[in-house]
Subunit: 192 residues, 2 copies
């Protein structure tokens, strides 16, 4: 019991109290449920790995995007985390592939360029395998710094480097736009 | 007393109870305060009018923007309401002038093109007084319909017609972007 509580406490957002509560719940649940949870945890690490091309979390290597014959393998959307891929897939308007950095630059938290998985992206660019790199990191301080770093890293190669638009979100009134967003919306205006 | 309560009830968001509460407050306040409120209401209508050039609410005609020698009088930002001007002024990044429509297209509420104040804008465009019209209506259904209408109205004239960017707001994580916003952020991507 103490060992399980200790292991559960290592999870993010789980303190001593929560760990105890979870452990007691597992204790009261059926042996089948406990086994299922145990197996699921073990299988996660055994079966899932990072795609050798794009770093996405996958059970097949290369991942479904990198091995898809119907996707444009020469258009690469660069994202911070694997969860960002779901956000972009939901739009149903993107048919290229991805590159997952697994983090953002954050000097305050000791995350430097060496901690981001940029290697396989620049290798692809160097080999002339990429036409366009869409920098889809968040328009936060860290995301913008990461986008700048990537732009610098990709500059030597013949790649079109683009950045997703910052602006007023769809369906929102401009009355609620903050100064920075409104400034970027004006700067980013396009001819109609 | 009944007359004041009746008049106060005509204000938006003021019901019978609130009107009574306000009226009693005025009754208890000093004669000077009551006079000041009375004068302020009267002066508002007596002194404020719409700018004959841009329809902004102003006490001088033309308004401070339309009569400013340091502003680019050939770049016009088209907004729905006078309050939008404050949003854009806060960015400190815009140095053109404005045109206020005083509304948005809304067929459901019976607001058609004939209800928007577009006349003086097309006249300015026809006279060749405008280089660029920035359509800064909100990226809502009504705002987009209004922007389309304006683009159609201005098309015959030699005016560069632009639309503010829709996208992920500054400082926000793309995880929280909805499908439409993310689609527009991808479509609106720009080379870096």
């Amino acid at each position: 019991m103490a060992r399980l509580i200790e292991e559960l406490r290592k999870l993010p957002g789980i303190g001593a109290k929560s760990a105890q509560r979870l452990a007691f719940h597992i204790l009261r649940s059926s042996a089948a449920d406990a086994d299922a949870l145990s197996d699921a945890v073990r299988e996660l690490k055994a079966k899932l790995r990072l795609c050798s091309v794009c770093n996405n979390i996958t059970d097949v290597d290369p991942c479904v995007y990198c091995s898809s014959p119907t996707r444009n393998q020469r258009q690469v959307c660069v994202v911070e985390e694997p969860t960002s891929i779901a956000v972009i897939e939901r739009t149903r308007s993107y048919n290229g592939v991805y590159h997952v950095l697994h983090g953002t630059l954050s000097p305050l938290h000791g995350v430097g360029p060496e901690h981001l998985r940029t290697g396989s992206l620049t290798v692809r660019a160097e080999r002339g395998e990429i036409d366009e790199a869409i920098l889809a990191t968040s328009p936060t301080l860290e995301g913008e710094a990461t986008a700048s770093l990537l732009a610098d890293l990709l500059k030597p190669y013949p790649v079109r480097i683009t950045r997703i638009a910052t602006g007023v979100p769809a369906g929102s009134d401009i009355e609620y736009a903050d100064e920075v967003t409104m400034t970027r919306a004006l700067e980013g205006r396009r001819e109609v």
